[in-house]
Symmetry: C2
Subunit: 714 residues, 2 copies
């Protein structure tokens, strides 16, 4: 069942591209759905509140806004806590971990998908300081993973065509496509999506994967375009006005002199510093939440989410009082755009007199997307007082920190952009006050957003392209590149990227692409920890059952004791899951030497790895005492070509082999002929630096000797 016929190859190819297309279509539709729901719910909420405010019913407006927000967050967090705990947070660390080869089935389970969609709608509509972008990446990955399951036994979906994806690699490829589709759908940035999937999400790059993710992203782009064309006709409620996020700054011609580079460098450096501080504080908050609050049970989680919603609502209602009432600019007044009574628009009246607007309310009393749009708005110098922007910056920074870690789906892109944009705008306002530079204040906001993103998330090319596609202005390219390079470099001096930190916090045994320096001091044999459990080529069923029950290993070396007496031969590896299949179907032979053609009993699909869920477990398999005495011949299910290293191999080199080829088991062979033909099996956990340092604490000194510099070495 390892060789494939022409027909199967064709089937595989067709399904591969069909699935890539389906992922695009579905993710695109979900992106539309979320945007539609958020725009309508949040829009209706804001419209009603604004109307009440206009008729001076302040208390009622405040209570209503707070009430709606609390209900939305309650809905979202209850779903999250009780039905899909894996849906909390951004989801990008989870996708990253999965693509690194970590098998945590609940990460991409169907319930996670549903909770993520609904919870994300709730949390974003409630005006929390969260984005829908990270969750969309997770959603795309979930959709991809579900498609790659190969049908479901429970729902009797066992069409053979669905089952062509048998290998982890195939599923990972699909999930990579899903992640790309998520970003493409979230930001309307197809090329950015591809680059994000490859730079940040995936651990193994291939050119051919590039092409497939590109295709998926293109499909998403087409779906979104068709969707917005339909919505332009006004059938989507409040959606048409705000629409899919696109912070267009293409109406400015970017002329910049060499003098402009100075503020750009300042932005980059400060973005890197503040970004790394943000990373530090964010990880502290998460640790605090999980250590002190989440221990108290599910209810505490829900309460925390509601508390954050309350604080957010109060900020949104009270802070505008600190804003500045400014007269409407002439043109906006003429065009009847100031103050704007609608949901969107740069100018909110709030408590100001006619013909004036409250600048802080314009930022606070709106959705996050619109706030960013207002900050990015070009050709509007002097729109905001610097104090208002500063207040907004502090408010957002605090809320972002408070919010990430509570039990709702919460993306980090939009909050970070919000922080960065207000910081950038602030710098822009101060610059334009003191000098006469050419750059628009709105462009400063864009560059500020780039600086914060670079300083916190530490991506480069993908962020650059996403920002360009978002702002639709290619002439910003050199400046955006410069800011990203500086802020990432500065940030890297202090700590790791935001997603890496959260991967560690969640305890995923992620393998970096490079070995740690101290691994050069160890050999492969040094890392062996688990006692080796071997099986004979033909083994008694009872023995196998005992081994499977009493160990948690997933692979066992098969040894042939028969041939030259006293010289056992290593045959290969047999997987627990394959053994379980044989046990379940009772593919036993009565005597040691009777031969049973196992391959005739099974098809390749029977041995396919289940996509999610735990698969079979040994406890569900019953074997009679009579069968206990029968035999299983492992030969047909043995992987005769496992990757091997010699015991004296440097651990760093073994790590490279393990990581680059994405292995699950690496056999350690003796260098000189010994009684044992194999010394042990290395698995992912044996390579995790923390575990190794626990074994060899004296290496800790070496490990931390060049702590941050080593990251440059990559």
């Amino acid at each position: 069942w390892r060789a494939r016929t022409n027909y199967e190859v064709l089937q595989y190819v067709i399904m591969k591209w069909t699935f890539a297309c389906l992922i695009g279509v579905l993710t695109g539709l979900v992106a539309l759905l979320i945007n539609l729901a958020v725009e309508n719910i949040a829009g209706a909420k804001l419209l009603i509140t604004l109307k009440l405010l206009q008729s001076n019913r302040y208390v009622l407006a405040g209570l209503l806004l707070t009430g709606i927000n609390l209900v939305l967050v309650l809905f979202s967090s209850v779903l999250c806590v009780y039905f899909g705990p894996a849906a909390a947070g951004s989801g990008i660390p989870e996708v990253k971990a999965y693509l690194n080869g970590i098998d945590a089935p609940e990460i991409l389970a169907p319930n996670t998908l549903v909770v993520k969609i609904l919870g994300s709608i709730g949390a974003v509509s409630a005006g929390l300081c969260v984005g829908k972008e990270g969750p969309l990446v997770h959603i795309g990955a979930c959709i991809a993973s579900l498609l790659g399951q190969g049908g479901s036994k429970r729902y009797h979906l066992r069409w053979k065509w669905l089952q062509v994806f048998k290998k982890d690699k195939d599923r990972r490829d699909l999930v990579t496509c899903g992640a790309a589709a998520g970003v493409a759908g979230a930001f309307k940035a197809p090329v950015g999506g591809v680059l994000f999937a490859l730079e940040e999400a995936s651990s193994w790059w291939r050119s051919s994967l590039l092409w497939r993710t590109f295709f998926t992203s293109a499909v998403v782009a087409v779906v979104l375009r068709i969707g917005s064309m339909l919505c332009k006709e006004g059938k989507c409620g409040l959606f048409g006005a705000g629409g899919l996020i696109l912070f267009d700054v293409s109406d400015v011609v970017v002329g910049f002199s060499l003098l402009d580079f100075l503020p750009v460098v300042v932005l980059g450096v400060s973005g890197g510093i503040i970004g790394s501080i943000f990373n530090k504080l964010s990880s502290r908050t998460c640790v605090f939440y999980s250590h002190y609050l989440h221990k108290k049970g599910s209810l505490a989680k829900v309460m925390l989410a509601c508390f954050v919603a309350l604080v957010t609502s109060i900020f949104c209602l009270c802070l505008p009082a600190l804003g500045h009432c400014r007269p409407c600019p002439h043109e906006a007044l003429m065009a009847n755009e100031c103050p704007s009574y609608g949901r969107t628009g740069n100018f909110k009246k709030f408590n100001c007199e006619a013909g004036h607007y409250n600048d802080l309310a314009s930022l606070l009393f709106t959705t996050n997307d619109d706030a960013i749009r207002n900050l990015f708005s070009t050709n509007t110098p002097q729109e905001y007082h610097y104090a208002s922007v500063l207040i907004f910056l502090v408010e957002t920074f605090l809320l972002t920190l408070m919010t990430y870690g509570i039990a709702v789906p919460s993306g980090l892109f939009i909050p970070v952009i919000l922080n960065g944009a207000s910081f950038g705008r602030l710098v822009g306002i101060l610059m334009s006050a003191s000098h006469n530079l050419k750059l628009d204040e709105g462009l400063y906001a864009v560059l500020g957003a780039a600086a914060f993103l670079g300083g916190s998330m530490r991506m480069t090319v993908s962020l650059c392209v996403i920002l360009l596609e978002l702002t639709n202005n290619l002439s910003m390219l050199p400046l955006v590149m410069l800011v990203l390079l500086i802020s990432k470099t500065v940030g890297d001096i202090f700590n790791k990227g935001l997603y890496d930190i959260h991967v560690r916090l969640k305890g995923f045994p992620l393998l970096e692409s490079h070995s740690e320096p101290f691994m050069h001091q160890l050999t492969a044999a040094d890392a062996l920890k688990n006692p080796l459990v071997k099986m004979a080529r033909v083994e008694k069923v009872g023995v196998i059952m005992d081994i499977l029950r009493n160990t948690r290993h997933n692979a066992f070396p098969v040894i042939d004791f028969s041939s030259p007496p006293g010289k056992p031969v290593f045959c290969g590896l047999v997987l627990r899951s394959h053994l379980l299949v044989l046990l379940k179907h009772k593919a036993f032979q009565p005597r040691r030497d009777s031969s049973l053609d196992i391959l005739k009993l099974f098809s390749g699909f029977d041995f396919a790895k289940p996509g999610s869920g735990k698969g079979m477990v040994i406890d569900n398999i019953e074997v009679s005492s009579e069968e206990d005495g029968m035999y299983i011949d492992m030969y047909p299910i043995t992987n005769a070509s496992p990757y091997t290293v010699l015991e004296t191999m440097s651990l760093a080199k073994a790590y490279t082999l393990f990581r680059q080829l994405g292995l699950r088991h690496l056999c350690v062979m003796p260098k000189t002929p010994q009684d044992e033909p194999i010394l042990g099996i290395l698995t992912r956990h044996d390579f995790v630096p923390e575990n190794l340092l626990t074994l060899y604490p004296y290496l800790k000194h070496k490990a931390t000797k060049v702590p941050r510099l080593s990251s440059f070495l990559a």
Copy 2:
């Protein structure tokens, strides 16, 4: 000398980024230089000829143009044939081969660099159907490679800081940066450059490399921007007007309906078909040239180049007679732009009467860059008669085929774009005649160029981004993506990408990222061909000399025969180059058991691999007969952790290991203890599919069974 101190790490990091920056600056400057030279030489040539034509001195004009072209091509091809044969052609296949791990020192040698720069200027100015883009990639790679040499003994450049790059991997990283810088400089497309380097050029992707190439590209972008700012002040002769290529179509708002998708699909499909036909014909032409003409010696090569130049000149002079005289459009007439007498401009008068222009002359009688600009020109419907565009298409197609393969530096991007753009414009003219579609004729030309590029070069994301950066219009994105996807898919059905074909033609043993299906039928032991030549741990100098003289192996297994008698132990691999260092410095010990601390005699730099050039050879080393009887202890220079596979390992898996980790030697170990502790060493040549099929001809059937489908499997 394997462990690194903090200081060395810092040194390494600083040099890494300094070099990345230097590569950017130098490549940017060379790009400016080439553009400047081409614009001025070709511009002056065309201006003089046009002036002669205006005063009706046709014959003189024709002779002058032909003469100048011949001289330029003669200069270029003589340089190429006699001083730098590796500089002929595009250079991208060479860079690709180098980055795949193929060691061909002359590819990136200094003479190649110089010839490539000068030859490229000559060939492009002569109006040949070649581009300067491919050569610029090669130039960037050469610059990077030279920087990575670690100084030069000949010129006494032995500053220690220059020598931090000792490994192949470091040099490959630099060359990847160079390739990115080349594209960034050629197309003014920094992001496109990064993607090109990663998608097409490099064989091993890493996120960290992404960041470094991104930095280099950003530096190039800044250099180009400063350069064009200086040139705008008019100090660069004719350069200011044409400038760096940028085929701006941003003045069109791309509105397209679903109906427009149909012609786009047509363009994609036909682009894929014609692209693959082009690939086929191009490889045939190259084979013809190298089999029949180039065998006749250097002079024949020069003659061929001159012949092509002659044909090009004649086409350029005579074909406009077939063009159509059309009246100038009103606005252009008013603005005094039609007919244009300058070098650039959409409308050339040629033989037409006043107030009219010859549409074919507007395409032919100009530089390639300007011709593309004219084809891409938007908001100019009805500018060209369809017959004129058709003639131009046929002419360019023939010239492109004729030209690639002659002995001048010749990029393929611009010719392919030229073909595609004229094809697209033709489709656009026909479409706008029969229907009333919304797309501009100029945009059709852009999409046509995308279709041809995709159909011939088979890149996706990088081409997409390069085209977007070139045309400066992000709203084209969905259409460009679609065209590229279709044309690449269609093209892949018929044959491989253009660069892959030329890599094969040049005989580079490129290892694809995937193993061939037939390799599953073989084991690692099956691929062993070379008889194994072993060395003892302490070996006589005479024996070593004999072995090095009589074999061409680059690595030898070191066997310890001493420990338990009769049970030899495999110690590791020793490299020929390291042995030569010991031999040259006569690090011998008089007796087998006397111990000499070799490590004290040498520093790590002594063992560093020379960047280009052949390094040491055994013939230059003299050993006296007395020394012949002395001993060398290999232990200190033995690599004790070589990667190994068991003899029964599937060859496909061994291939994956070899290719993914970028190895040069892979040891094959016996499965059961035997007399021999190691069976053999696999090298790159053992894995090349053609070589394997020669050994096992009966597998040929299997190998070609799923010939093209397998490429989808990636």
